[in-house]
């Protein structure tokens, strides 16, 4: 028993130590959000001497709920579109045999290698020409599909057991039926992973709302919180920034906890390390 428990002990130790390490910034952010700007500047102690909810009060008033609703709507729309489009594209690239598939895949890969600093302005030009500026549609459409996650889904489908699908093909099920009835239900871990990352990506998106949206009521959450935090031009009030980041983390965290059961189906025959 000793050799096994020793290995397990070391494993738990490593995991717990690393977890605490990753928890540190999060806790630190919470503590800072409870401090007054003065206390933050003095940086006397990590623990807030005079904890105050001033930062949260400043943030949680007025247009905050409007921003939260805007962000929630846009993020949900983008996530649904992304999960559907990316998974379909990834599936096609992994499982269908057609001329030019390799070329198309390499072309897509090439596109994500171009840095966004130069593509952001032309993208804005297109959005402006479509008359979508200052609408949520601009953010939704420009992020409705993402090559990174098409790529991820393709990689998941490459190793997908073909037997089940082949059996379905023999039963005469068409590609659509096969995709929705057989493939999707079995690809739950990958879908959950994608949904979380897409949602989080658009939720924390900074550049697109900044460029496309300019009326305060249409702001997305990150934009709004950033505006509140940078009220005094030269000094960024870190308590507001931290309070804002904590508040914007909560929705993603709750979604993550709900979904992480998916990509971690903790069943008995999950691979044992004993």
């Amino acid at each position: 028993m000793s050799r096994k428990s020793y290995a397990n002990g070391a494993l738990y130790l490593m995991l717990s130590a690393y977890s605490l390490l990753t928890l540190a910034p999060f806790i630190w952010a919470i503590l800072t959000s409870l401090k007054s700007p003065r206390e933050i500047a003095e940086a006397a102690s990590v623990w807030p001497q005079a904890p105050t909810l001033a930062a949260y009060e400043t943030i949680l008033h007025g247009p905050f709920y409007q921003w939260l609703w805007n962000s929630f709507m846009v993020a949900t729309a983008v996530t649904l579109l992304n999960v559907l489009f990316n998974t379909m594209a990834g599936y096609a690239l992994a499982r269908f045999q057609f001329r030019g598939r390799g070329l198309l895949f390499q072309a897509l890969m090439l596109l994500i290698m171009v840095p966004s600093q130069v593509t952001m302005i032309p993208a804005y030009m297109i959005v402006a020409r479509l008359g979508l500026v200052d609408t949520h549609l601009s953010v939704i459409l420009t992020s409705a599909a993402s090559i990174a996650y098409i790529f991820m889904m393709r990689q998941f489908f490459v190793n997908f057991p073909a037997e089940i699908e082949e059996a379905a093909t023999l039963d005469g099920s068409g590609p659509l039926h096969r995709f929705f009835r057989i493939v999707l239900p079995m690809a739950k871990p990958a879908l959950a992973t994608q949904a979380i990352f897409v949602f989080m990506g658009i939720w924390n998106e900074f550049m697109k709302p900044l460029l496309f949206i300019s009326t305060v009521d249409n702001y997305l959450l990150t934009q709004g919180l950033n505006a509140v935090a940078k009220q005094y031009a030269k000094s960024s009030s870190w308590n507001l920034i931290m309070a804002g980041s904590i508040i914007s983390i909560l929705p993603i965290l709750s979604m993550y906890i709900a979904l992480n059961r998916r990509f971690l189906n903790i069943n008995d025959q999950s691979s044992g390390i004993k």
């Binding site: 003065r38 302005i121 030009m125 402006a128 900044l210 009326t215 505006a227 031009a233 000094s235 009030s237």
Partner: protein, 417 residues
């Protein structure tokens, strides 16, 4: 029978109501489109937001033009440039004097003229900052900030000095800072220094020899007075009586270092006062004019104006808004927002010269150097900052840093033409 007609009549009424409503909405939308102006502003403090809305309301009342405000809360310059690139600019927008030359050179701004009397009312160098190389005016300065010397009388007294002991000239101030540092507790700086060129350009050009030539090329080397000034800053850092707020005190902006009383002196703009009052109300401060360099009075002015894009959709409304806010509306804006007015008449009317804490800033306006120097400024600023930081943190000699800064800047300027 009765019931059906009743229901039918109810339906008719509802249809009529809808029609009326639809008409009303259309009319209102139509009205809005008749005369409106889109103003792009950057994120600002609640006081400034309220002041802007108040002034905008006054504008609408007097002209009937509705004001639609676009707030760009971050990376303002980048977003404005993207708007221009996409040919979707606002009707009128905030323009920082240092960014003006680039937009003027791109010929995307509408030129606007002032009557001679108006021209005389503005500080001349503020107007000059918005003039193109063709001499035309492309922006109307709306407010400004200047640098001043901030002292913490309490810390001074604890170190056994009185505010009057602080020398007025730069060299004297440096020597004073050195002796003061010896008497200060550990972790408290005599003075904090910001390494940006934007803070020191005026001081570097007091010898009359420009640091940035008329042709926009860098002349960092071969300027003995400038070298002497910068060398004092470097030795101050090496001998640890001049601190960098970020690297040495971990303060993410100078105001925080002053507010937490970890420095006795600092050279800052008046923008620091609202934050000091708001977050560090109990910390006393006295403002003094910037120290003289080579016996010449010097300070930097950071000017912001209104500009109107040449291809704005409602250009006329934009121009009227700009003229209103820098004309009859300036008094309302300056007093409500707490910023310094660029018209001397408004300044006098508000007796700003003897307002507490602002005297040094306002008197400095007369001889201030505006932080704006042609389209080459971004290159000069980045390269100077990059190299001077190395000299300041001691990993390179000042002479080497200046030579490298000049060489790199000039090559990049050449390439830009």
């Amino acid at each position: 029978m009765k019931k059906t007609t009743g229901r039918r009549r109810g339906m008719l009424q509802r249809m009529a109501l809808c029609a009326a409503l639809a008409l009303g909405v259309a009319a209102m939308a139509h009205a809005r489109a008749a005369e409106s102006v889109t103003v792009a502003v950057w994120g600002s403090s609640p006081a400034e937001v309220a002041a802007f809305d108040e002034a905008a309301a006054a504008f609408t009342r007097s002209t009937g033009i509705a004001v639609h405000k676009q707030v760009i809360e971050d990376k303002y310059q980048d977003v404005i440039k993207s708007r221009f690139a996409a040919n979707n600019p606002p009707d009128v927008f905030y323009l920082d004097a240092s960014e003006a030359p680039v937009l003027i050179e791109s010929e995307v701004l509408e030129s606007l003229e002032l009557t001679p009397s108006d021209q005389a009312d503005f500080y001349p160098q503020f107007l000059q900052a918005f003039r193109g190389r063709d001499g035309k005016l492309y922006g109307l300065p709306k407010d400004y900030s200047t640098l001043a010397l901030y002292l913490n009388p309490r810390l001074l007294r604890q170190a056994g000095y009185r505010p009057d002991d602080v020398p007025r000239d730069f060299n004297g101030l440096m020597r004073f800072a050195q002796t003061l540092q010896a008497r200060l507790p550990r972790g408290v700086a005599a003075m904090i220094i910001d390494k940006d060129l934007a803070r020191h350009l005026a001081a570097l050009e007091t010898s009359g020899q420009p640091l940035i030539g008329a042709d926009g090329r860098a002349r960092f080397v071969g300027n003995a007075a400038a070298y002497a000034y910068l060398n004092q800053l470097v030795t101050g850092h090496v001998l640890k009586y001049l601190y960098s707020p970020k690297d040495d005190l971990g303060a993410d902006w100078p105001g925080a270092a002053f507010g937490t009383q970890r420095t006795v002196m600092m050279m800052e703009g008046n923008w620091v006062q609202p934050a000091l009052k708001h977050d560090y109300g109990d910390v006393p401060f006295i403002t003094r004019e910037m120290p003289t360099v080579n016996q010449r009075r010097q300070t930097m002015a950071f000017v912001v104006g209104y500009a109107v894009p040449r291809r704005a959709k409602n250009k006329a409304a934009g121009l009227r808004f700009a003229r209103f806010m820098t004309g009859s509306g300036m008094r309302l804006w300056a007093s409500a927002s707490g910023t310094l007015p660029t018209r001397r008449s408004v300044e006098a009317a508000m007796q700003l010269r003897d307002a507490p804490g602002l005297t040094a800033h306002v008197t400095g306006a007369a001889y201030a150097t505006v932080w704006s120097r042609g389209i080459e400024l971004p290159i000069l600023n980045t390269n100077f900052g990059n190299q001077f930081q190395a000299a300041f943190s001691g990993s390179k000699s000042l002479q080497q840093a200046l030579e490298k800064a000049e060489a790199v800047s000039n090559r990049e300027i050449e390439r830009q033409r």
